[in-house]
Point group: C2
Chain length 506, copies 2
């Protein structure tokens, strides 16, 4: 037994070192998005590529393989057990087996190309010049296809391996099984809303909202829902994100537009949701699976919960609307809370995913999900992406895409090599609905709490049920453990139907 | 010969990798000073310690030692030669021999303790609480003493080894040899100024200078003298510094006080001088000695040149004073350029080194130089630093230090382990004077150019003579190569005497 303790200790030390080195790359990645001067792009790509290679080398050291084998054979570890050691060993094994399949050359090349590719995307997007971005997209898709082939395990399409990277256990088939029924309901709901004839005034959201006041208001709200600025910060980036860099350091970004209040505010609520998850991890387990977030889908359930289930609720604004009016007296003079609530929940066709409403948001995801499958299978060529995008978008949303910045170049993901990531957004919406329903069962009327500015009960519940376990369970196990249910689109559909029926008089 | 090419190639690859990894730590270090949330301090110390250990491991890899030996024996390398290969091998050898003496444990410990120590210093300084900082200072001095002992080569005091880290070839004795005559002259000059009875009005500098305008004005000036913001940026930090992170990425920091115009402005000029050096390095030699700055003394000659010889000259303000008045019309209404020039060049006793005038600045340095020698020799105990500081300060400046934030805790250096660094500031002032005199010989009347806003001739001269060579020469060789002179306090004394005699009617 004391031998086993020694081996386990050695394993945890090694895992912690890998995480610590990886977190250094995390700082450089954050800095690249927020601070890096244009001239430093190439040097940064070299730095990140070096670190990626070093992290990979350490993560795949044969000694970790030996330690895992010894521990697995020791009789002290229960396969699929959820005690600390069994869970750490199980998840370390999963990660190790995955990493050793990847050649270091591929890891370094992916890091370098996506670092340069992201900067190229930023420039190309400004000019809506897809041709300028195309060579980068082609390199990235080629590398991701290679990655998918190397990682492939089951009989499914190669794309499955990319999905699995972000959502353990998810496959094209399991995602389709929930996306398909969700799509049917969403299309119906969107049509009913369109036919309702109601069109809330949204011009009030486009008035002048001075950026510095937007910032301080968003920070106050993020604090109120439980994001700690002692252990984090908020900056500006071209594409909003949240980066958890390790204990006590979690960073949110957003982008401000004086004439678009919801963009920055709900962006901050969203990223703060991610941040609350990161800040809720068990610090004592830092660097081991038990101290890590479980999956991107679960991560997204946290951001979407605070953004939508909380931030876009009527109850939230019963608490926050008076201070909002006080902060922006000119813009909101004579605007009632009901008008404001209707405006921030307007359902309509938007070109931009991150600015879309709760109903159509998932249709944006499904479009990307289909397109990614085709890019990886080779059915769709990179050069044909704009046309394919625009055609499908017109089918789904009834709008002609005027340029690629509002179309296939709007998101950072592909330029950063994050293919297989998008579906986790819609999975997150479904998880969020399931968690929210269950939280209400256990905590009582959450909206009644939000009205009074009480967000701590929900936050503590999420801390306890979802954040603290880290990777103790797989995403599906966690969902079942917390709610007693399997993944289902039904709670999300019910939430949306109820909310928008009331708003649109359906 | 082709074998030798291969070995040289391998050496340069290895050196570049070490630099690249070191530059990652540079990003984390910058971030620590400018962005890190308080909660992330400990994690950051762990990250930096890991990177320091890894850099050290790579820098001391036995293969580098073998490559150096093979190249040295090859007959292709001239000892003390200044061709590319000889210079790179010579400096790589110097650095390697130094690094292999340091145990990895000491390197990691120094990184960790100084990272935490700096944060402790920031907090303690706010409260002027030396007792809170003392345990950190004690740890740091102990570690630096160990480092000095390990590195010691000659018969001189251990402190020599610390000096040599920042200024190759400098010793306590060589520094004293120039400091002593400089001190005599400075004390005389300061006394003559005091006795002149002239006391320029400085209250005009304490009026309201809105911070955002200070920032944009300083950025404009930094651009004008030649710092590229395509390849750099300017941020806020508790202690101003310049950090060259690699090709295309050099960052300046400053601190603003609405009621103290000179602090931020001359701080930016100073750091921009450092930055122009970093940006002037030969990019194609990145990661090798020929692509590195030669020493801190030479580095400081560049910052002091732009801050003082340019920025505090009458000619500079002949160009910049009209725009300055336009930017701050209220503060500078009715203030003539002569009054302004006298105010920014007031000589007086200041508690704070970085805010002191050109005459007394070097006395601040000499105080620290003496104290550091005593700390390392053990003659002075850490706990007695405040008393020793205050006594010496009163001797030199005739002022009682009211608290340690204005005394021995004002500088970041000791908390960051930078003992042996201070003397390079005064060496830099002497180098700057020597370079400036020589630049004028070659370029003609520089002040006539500054009047017209022409700074490029000086910048290009510095680029060519001082920046591009990197570490091709040692500091003393470079000085001789550029000016044909040895280090001397005379040009600095002449500059100060001429400038301040005119200002104070001596």
């Amino acid at each position: 037994m004391s031998d086993i303790n020694g081996l386990y200790q050695e394993l945890t030390e090694k895992l912690k070192q890998v995480s610590l080195l990886g977190s250094c790359a995390g700082v450089l990645g954050w800095d690249e998005q927020t601070c890096l001067p244009p001239g430093g792009v190439e040097h940064r790509a070299n730095q990140l590529s070096l670190l990626a290679g070093m992290v990979h080398e350490r993560a795949t050291s044969p000694r970790i393989g030996e330690l895992l084998s010894s521990l697995e054979k020791s009789g002290q570890i229960t396969p699929d057990g959820d005690d600390d050691r069994s869970a750490n060993v199980r998840e370390a094994r999963r990660s190790y087996d995955r990493s050793v399949k990847l050649p270091r050359r591929l890891v370094e090349e992916l890091s370098r190309v996506t670092s340069l590719g992201q900067q190229a995307w930023i420039e190309a997007r400004k000019k809506s010049n897809f041709a300028e971005f195309l060579p980068w997209l082609e390199q990235i898709v080629t590398l991701k296809r290679e990655q998918a082939t190397v990682l492939a395990t089951g009989d499914g399409p190669a794309y499955d391996a990319l999905l699995d990277e972000f959502e353990t256990g998810a496959t094209t088939a399991t995602v389709k099984a929930v996306f398909d029924p969700l799509r049917v309901e969403l299309v119906q709901l969107a049509a009913a809303i369109r036919d309702s004839g109601r069109t809330p005034r949204t011009d009030v959201l486009k008035r002048s909202y001075p950026v510095d006041l937007q910032k301080s208001f968003a920070i106050d709200a993020a604090k109120k829902i439980g994001f700690s600025f002692e252990d984090g910060r908020l900056d500006v980036a071209a594409h909003p994100f949240c980066s958890g860099m390790g204990p006590g350091d979690c960073r949110l970004t957003t982008r401000y537009d004086e004439h678009d209040f919801p963009q920055a505010f709900f962006g901050v609520m969203h990223e703060a949701g991610h941040g609350i998850y990161e800040q809720g991890l068990d610090r004592t387990a830092y660097g081991m699976p038990l101290g890590e977030t479980v999956s991107l889908g679960i991560h997204e359930s946290q951001s979407r919960m605070w953004e939508n289930f909380v931030g876009r609720s009527y109850a939230f604004w019963e608490h926050f609307y008076a201070p909002l009016q006080k902060t922006f007296p000119k813009a909101l003079k004579g605007v009632s809370i009901d008008e404001f609530y209707a405006a921030i929940n307007t359902v309509g066709s938007s070109f931009i995913r991150v600015e879309s409403d709760e109903v159509t948001y998932n249709l944006h995801i499904m479009l990307r999900f289909e397109m990614e499958q085709q890019l990886i299978s080779g059915k769709l060529k990179c050069k044909d992406v704009p046309e394919a995008w625009n055609t499908q978008f017109e089918n789904d949303f009834g709008l002609k895409v005027p340029n690629d910045s509002l179309g296939c170049m709007q998101d950072i993901h592909w330029s950063g090599g994050l293919i297989g990531y998008f579906p986790t957004y819609a999975l997150g919406n479904m998880y969020a609905a399931q968690f929210f329903v269950h939280a209400e069962k256990e905590l009582g009327d959450l909206n009644a709490m939000f009205c009074q500015g009480k967000f701590e009960p929900l936050k503590k519940w999420l801390n306890e049920k979802i954040h603290k376990p880290g990777k103790r369970y797989t995403p599906q196990e966690l969902l079942f453990h917390v709610t007693g249910e399997r993944l289902s689109p039904t709670p999300l559909i019910q939430h949306l139907t109820k909310k928008f029926s009331a708003l649109y008089g359906l």
